[in-house]
Symmetry: C2
Subunit: 552 residues, 2 copies
């Protein structure tokens, strides 16, 4: 058995190692165009910033180890230029001497990854304009930064953009992010990104939203960028982080089936339209675990698991990829934002019925020092209560909760299951009612009609024109900032002041996080009023309308 | 509707708040024997140590708030001395003036909690001998410590014992723990507690295992303890942390059904044998989610959820408690140990078939600074692959993984599901192959017979007498410490040195954590040898046999 693998990073290296573990006798050849295999692509920004100091650390596995331990014939700086499916062979080109040769295969695994997209704008190939994919890219960017550039412009406020911003700021560069959307981390719902946007600004980054670069030109001391708004920017270096495109050229040329967005099409055993060819990682189109639709999600975890699955199937062990649920996390200094499953914007786009709740809680018991606020947005199926998606933002404990919710989505748990999940509690690690339980409680209450709730976006539609708005917090909290138009009636006085509440129209009550608002709504409804709780209270309002207001 | 609640801490207060949310009109009376309601019992040790500085913080909710916001008639320092089930009334005694009175109920909820057990040994009631349950206890202990006691003896190395040790050490007290079992945190499997035992010792605590106190007597400057071994200890203060007993006196006197270990028996709606009486929290016997058997687990999270469920059922909303899975966590300075589901010792005791794997990994990507080692023990059903239990120990990321595994147990996920769970990965938060995925991989490989493994305990039985032991680590690692009797053949030389491996008996291979051992076993088996991987490698061996060896 002879297995040839194209690409030596996450998906390719995982395939190779698993293949050897499944067969001591197979011949395994791994081709890699670049000089390195199995490097830590997710660590690249942190090497620029100096958090990761030794370049060596980014090389997770070296060719020599793969060769010695796994007897994998690793051929770096070698590009596969063509596949001959009939003859079952590939044409390899040694990028050192240009010599080409044929290599036969029983099974071919394509793991070429995805390339950063270079938008077709003037100047995209100028010196000083970079994309970030591999160690060579990072060397070039770091070299530029080391030489004393003053101003970095990052195009795209996605995961890599925000991570680069952290690291440029750490290097004391003036940093500007230009983003086409009206938010950072566009794959996440906008309001959940507010703390990251505010942190970017408070750390000194300039955030230009709904903005794009139209042209880049050489200037006396670097580059001049013309933006869509007419504004110009001077930049010492520019990094483009506006998405990736599957490296599908080989697959296209070989006539393999390709998805509409360019991903190599595979079945859930990672087999392409040619039974002798498998494909894994950022280059493939996979199934979305939740929608069942086709998706392309460039993530390291799925790439690794897909490699394992491809090897299993090649060696006769049936193994299925269950689909991707797009779990992702990003840090920006002491802030963390994470997501799993579907977002509200995807649910709205797909016209999928859903309901949502917000929970604002401490990441561990409030009475123990160091408790940090954490916000969770939970999206669920109104009919079945199944969890459809979750996002969390805060400074501590974010990964912990998103991981639980990721497992919950995989296991098709409902909001009622979340109310009951028995998580670890000691005051320095959690709460007797963990934020995940709270999300389950709030969602169950909403689903049961126990506490009708409305959301900020609904309040800002028709409802806001008709309804009365009651702030049930303390006068001190009210004075420190409230939703325009609200009247303050503290919860603990509400029962005595019911006659102050208008009975001729809907009443929306809110507090800081939704707890007191909940009780207020129950009191008001018991008194015969048409009352609703503003989901997630003033804190959720503030996610939609940051104090800075620059976010709008 | 009139609901009377006996006990005002976790279970009682949760019942009361939920009851009010379900009915604005119900009359709700909550009796509490002590002066405080809803205090943070899990925080008590940290107030002694000064981590929590303000006593006020331990009072999560005050009677005045419960009264104002929830219109709960809170009667502290009032004990319920009898239940008249026929008349549906309780006899209350005001502990201030001794006045007794009757209070009727439609529904009664018992949430009396559990009392620290006082073993029947001489001197158990002497001044300076304490148990820890409430704020009054903690005031007394703190007062003793503040007065300058030098040596604290903690009897019992369970959760409270270890937490107290941390806090006494923080206060610079000489600290000794006396524990009957041969390990700390006896509810967890012994080898997983090794890092905590070692940390206790390295922080200066004296750990006396397989030891007990036979008598305590007053001495010139405190107390003298006679231990079973014949040893004596001088102590300034003694805290007994040897378990709790359900406060079942009222229930027993009222003729309610009681379990064999004293817990008030309830159905899964938290209803006792009297349909008008519910019971929740540490005083009840509940169902073990995994075994289906009866259990008593005094934990705050379950108590809170049970209170909610009791209120739901009282007010006609059907709600079922799904059983307890004994998720728990304990910190000792920068070490954390957590558990969920069944332990090996319980599985062995119950003769339940299981298999286990160990994973030693970093809590986040190793190439990012600050990665800390984390060990996971996973127990699974050999037939179905269902996760039966998990334990984790390390300094970071322990709660994160145990929480995922707790959700996995609740959702009846299998080891194969764990291999695929899509957790959040960026280098500062996790790994592309998270420790939970790794546990799933290793368990799946073991279940598939891909890599036969043996465990340290098996090696130490018959197998060790027959088998050859091969250490496949580097000579440097081997020289730094190896399992007695092992021969060093580094993995990367193994294929060339196969003739050195004996073919006439089983061969056990091991490395540091089990990864290289896995590859070694595959190479050896391919060569026709009867080879096995030592599960979890040298690190697991070291959990069983700490370098200190005092633990044995």
């Amino acid at each position: 058995m002879k297995v040839v693998i194209v690409g030596g990073v996450a998906g390719g290296a995982s395939t190779a190692a698993r293949a050897r573990r499944l067969s001591e006798s197979a011949e395994i050849i791994m081709f890699e165009r670049g000089p390195d295999v199995s490097f830590a692509n997710c660590g690249l920004p942190y090497y620029i910033g100096g958090e990761i100091q030794e370049r060596e650390k980014l090389l997770v596995t070296k060719p020599s180890l793969l060769n010695k331990r796994y007897r994998i014939d690793v051929r770096t700086r070698t590009e596969i230029v063509a596949i001959d499916r009939r003859a079952k062979q590939v044409r390899a080109r040694n990028l050192g001497d240009g010599v080409e040769y044929l290599e036969s295969y029983d099974f071919l695994v394509l793991a070429p990854g995805a390339a950063p997209w270079k938008p077709p704008i003037e100047g995209v190939d100028l010196p000083g304009v970079f994309t970030l994919r591999n160690l060579e890219d990072v060397d070039r960017i770091k070299d530029f930064v080391d030489r004393g550039v003053e101003h970095a412009v990052i195009v795209g406020a996605g995961f890599i953009g925000v991570e680069l911003a952290e690291n440029f700021l750490r290097r004391k560069l003036r940093t500007t992010i230009v983003e086409l959307q009206d938010q950072v981390i566009p794959v996440v719902d906008r309001e959940m990104t507010t703390p990251i946007a505010e942190a970017l600004r408070s750390r000194g980054a300039t955030l230009l939203l709904r903005e794009s670069v139209e042209a880049m030109r050489k200037s006396a001391d670097g580059l001049t960028l013309n933006l869509k708004s007419g504004r110009t920017l001077d930049a010492g270096l520019v990094v483009l982080g506006v998405g990736v495109r599957p490296e599908n050229q080989l697959a296209v040329a070989a006539g393999l089936e390709i998805g509409p967005r360019g991903g190599i099409r595979v079945d859930d055993g990672m087999q392409t339209s040619d039974p002798s060819i498998y494909a894994v990682g950022d280059a493939v189109e996979t199934r979305d675990f939740l929608t069942g639709g086709r998706t392309q999600v460039p993530l390291a975890g799925p790439a690794n698991r897909q490699g394992r699955i491809a090897a299993d199937n090649i060696f006769g062990r049936e193994s299925r990829y269950r689909g991707t649920q797009s779990t992702a996390i990003v840090g920006f200094f002491d802030h963390t934002l994470a997501t799993t499953g579907l977002t509200e914007k995807v649910l709205v786009r797909d016209r999928t019925p859903f309901f949502k709740v917000y929970v604002h809680a401490n990441h561990h018991a409030g009475y123990y020092p160091g408790a940090k606020p954490l916000s969770i947005k939970l999206l669920a199926d109104p009919l079945t209560g199944k969890v459809l998606g979750a996002q969390a933002v805060g400074s501590e404990g974010v990964a912990n909760r998103i991981n639980v919710l990721a497992a919950a989505i995989q296991a098709e748990m409902t909001i009622r299951d979340l109310a009951e999940v028995e998580l670890a509690y000691a005051p320095q690690f959690g709460s007797a009612k963990d934020p995940v339980n709270m999300a389950g409680f709030v969602a169950s209450n909403a689903a049961d009609g126990l506490c009708p709730q409305v959301h900020v976006d609904q309040w800002e539609g028709e409802l806001g024109k008709r309804a009365a708005l009651i702030d049930v917090r303390t006068p001190q909290e009210f004075a420190a900032g409230a939703i325009p138009g609200a009247v303050n009636v503290p919860i603990d006085e509400l029962r005595e002041r019911l006659d102050e509440i208008p009975r001729d129209r809907p009443v929306v009550a809110y507090c800081q996080v939704g707890m007191r608002g909940y009780m207020a709504v129950l009191i008001l409804r018991d008194a015969g009023l048409d009352a609703y709780n503003l989901g997630g209270g003033y804190k959720t309002y503030r996610l939609h309308h940051p104090a800075s207001d620059e976010h709008a």
